[in-house]
């Protein structure tokens, strides 16, 4: 089957130019002026950017275990609609992704859905309990590259040191959820003015920064490669900037909500705005954006975290943290970031692809012979999210009533258009 993407502006890690793209099978065949060519399917890209598909380092697909919130199929559909051709499935499933059988199940469910590549992450510790290392070599052998206890930080410094040391010979990266949990007991939101006014227990910035600092120093000691998940504070950005200038193998991500929303959003006590780490302040947002601009922060990762309506309607201290992100990430990033378009796409596509070790097939330059995992988006379209129209099984988007800028028109996964004109094809 052939697909022709006509009239767009092709943007990848190596260049930006006006060109048509012909796909044959699962590969890019020709890039250039193809005005006179035809194909089985022709996708209009007028006014649009044609880029390598996005890669999300941080997606909660909830299957197995919480299928009432999301399934691998519904989450994959949300991902495709958001322009993603690969997502890293976080391992806080039930059972947790700490054994070959579970990660093989997740991968197979992703293949069955056929909307994007689902890359199961593995746990750092068995059952994410923070006590015993997961079998890294076995999981690496099953294709796992990112290991995390996300949802929990690894509290024990000895265990984290051992995890880093043991990881050294293996093709893997340890991704930390930075939270010293003794400092965040019962926490609902950022510790500051707003939590003081609202009478809610605070989640202090220092609880993140202490673990960022600890893990950077452990990485310095061991030489391990680490990735820091969903950074949320100004001081965390400074710590990572210093670590990178020291030449350490540290990468970091930021979530769209941490560059677009502040703790003031909690003033109506709507648990849709409860997330972990919490929404912080305008000062933190400015620092996170600066971190993206200078490359201290490598990637934008959604932390897509579906929850059913009834869970988000519980009293706010009892409601689970997390918000949807896959279908709105591009619109938030382009609306919020005053960066060259290529830098935004880099943070959504080829930089996370390198961290997830899938740069052979995602985020690759759009050149003949390369895998055809592509996104076509209109960078100027303004739109508003309608919860009922989301492909996710859940509705907990924090962006209702807010203008987003930039919308996915088509997504091509392994040469097949899985989204055409904003509509999922399967």
């Amino acid at each position: 089957m052939s697909v022709l993407i006509r009239g767009g502006r092709v943007l990848d890690a190596s260049s930006e130019r006006d060109a048509d793209v012909l796909i044959d099978g699962d590969r890019v065949a020709v890039v250039g002026d193809l005005t006179r060519r035809s194909a089985d399917t022709v996708l209009d890209a007028t006014g649009c950017v044609v880029a390598p598909g996005f890669v999300d380092l941080h997606t909660h697909l909830r299957e197995p275990g919480r299928e009432e919130a999301e399934t691998i199929e519904t989450g994959s559909r949300a991902a495709a609609l958001g322009g993603y051709t690969a997502v890293v499935a976080m391992p806080n499933t039930d059972p947790a992704q700490d054994a070959r059988g579970v990660v093989e199940f997740v991968r197979a469910q992703g293949e069955a859905a056929g909307l994007c590549e689902v890359l199961p992450a593995g746990c750092i510790t068995i059952g994410r309990a923070g006590e015993q290392l997961a079998p890294y070599a076995e999981l690496v052998d099953a294709g796992v590259r990112i290991f995390t206890d996300d949802g929990n930080g690894v509290q024990d410094p000895l265990l984290m040191r051992r995890a880093m040391e043991y990881s050294l010979g293996l093709d893997m990266v340890l991704a930390q959820h930075c939270e010293v949990s003794r400092l965040t007991g019962g926490a609902v939101m950022h510790e500051g003015q707003c939590c003081s006014d609202l009478g809610l227990p605070g989640w202090p910035s220092i609880a993140e920064e202490l673990m960022v600092h600890r893990d950077i120093e452990l990485a310095r000691l061991t030489g391990a490669r680490i990735h820091l998940l969903h950074l949320s504070t100004a001081r965390s950005v400074e710590l990572v900037r210093a670590a990178k200038s020291d030449g350490l193998a540290v990468t970091a991500e930021v979530s769209p909500h941490h560059i677009s929303l502040t703790d003031d959003a909690l003033r109506g006590y709507d648990a849709v705005f409860k997330v972990n780490p919490p929404l912080r302040t305008a000062v933190d947002i400015a620092a996170l954006k600066a971190g993206l601009a200078d490359g201290t922060i490598d990637a934008i990762a959604t932390d897509h975290a579906p929850h059913p309506v009834e869970d988000k309607e519980r009293p706010i201290d009892d409601a689970p943290p997390g918000m949807l992100g896959l279908e709105t990430a591009l619109g938030v990033a382009l609306g919020e970031l005053d960066l060259p378009l290529a830098d935004v796409v880099a943070a959504l596509s080829w930089k996370p692809a390198a961290i997830a070790d899938v740069a052979d097939r995602h985020g690759t330059p759009i050149e003949p012979g390369n895998p055809a995992n592509l996104v076509v988006f209109d960078p100027r379209e303004r739109w508003q999210v309608r919860p009922a129209a989301l492909a996710s099984r859940s509705r907990n988007t924090p962006y209702v009533g807010r203008d987003l800028v930039g919308r996915v028109r088509h997504t091509v996964f392994r040469g097949t258009p899985v989204v055409i004109d904003g509509a999922a094809q399967r």
């Binding site: 003015q193 003081s196 009478g199 006590y269 309607e313 009293p315 706010i316 201290d317």
Partner: protein, 307 residues
Amino acid sequence: MKHLRSIAEIGPAAVMRLLDLTDTMVEVNQRPNPKVPALRGKTVCNLFFEDSTRTRLSFETAAKRLSADVMTFSVGTSSVNKGESLRDTIETVAAMGVDAFVIRHRSSGVPWQVSRWTTASIVNGGDGWHAHPTQALLDAYTVRSALGRSGGLDGLQVAIVGDVRHSRVARSVTEIFRVLGADVTLVAPATLLPPVPAAPVTDDLDSIVGKVDVLYLLRMQRERMTEALVPSLREYSGRFGLTPERAHRLQDHALVMHPGPMNRGVEILVDPAELPGAVITQQVTNGVAVRMAVLFDLLGNEMEETR
């Protein structure tokens, strides 16, 4: 006024109106038959997800003196967690025809959540660490009447002492005294203050005890001892308790207040009966009149009905 969820939300004009209306209700309560038909045909539902006999009885009495029909629903949080959701509980009760819900809940913010699910008026009977606006109103009313003031409380020096961080009373009382023009100082160690306190702070009670017009003591909960917030109750009492020595230094007209229930020997180390300025009983008495004023303001139609 549609709801009374916090003092900050209703603002100064409504606070003054409610305090003035309380005068009327105090007069009603002094009649031989302290009952008026003002809210006949209205239904008030007390929804107490957290035990509080005093506040519940005070609201029940207030509603009955205004001739409202009263439903009282006391539920432990555990039963709600296990079974019916908060929303289902509210929608079910609301379907029976309720004009106002009085809600007490251990979680901050529940009155705001609930008001998204019903058209009834919401009265916050205390939510988490956040707010307790009827307590604040009765405290302000008590000060106003004890000091013979009729308008605001401009220039009044108020010290609020103790566990401000975990106290909905402290938050609402701070708000109302500031709204009325008083100068509030919070007296506590940093461990018992919120991250960003709403008023100036000191940890030296002795430096201000001789200057205040109102000394407001908060309840010190014994379970705080396990959380490394203070070294011991003994040290707390020594630094922040009302000792006989401090009581002697109070100005003659100074008022001593406490929201109850008191921990004698912890925050108060003298017998309140021997303190001329103690108005702790008046606080309770005024609670009924203040809650009548609130319910009438939310649900009443015509002032004439109270005459």
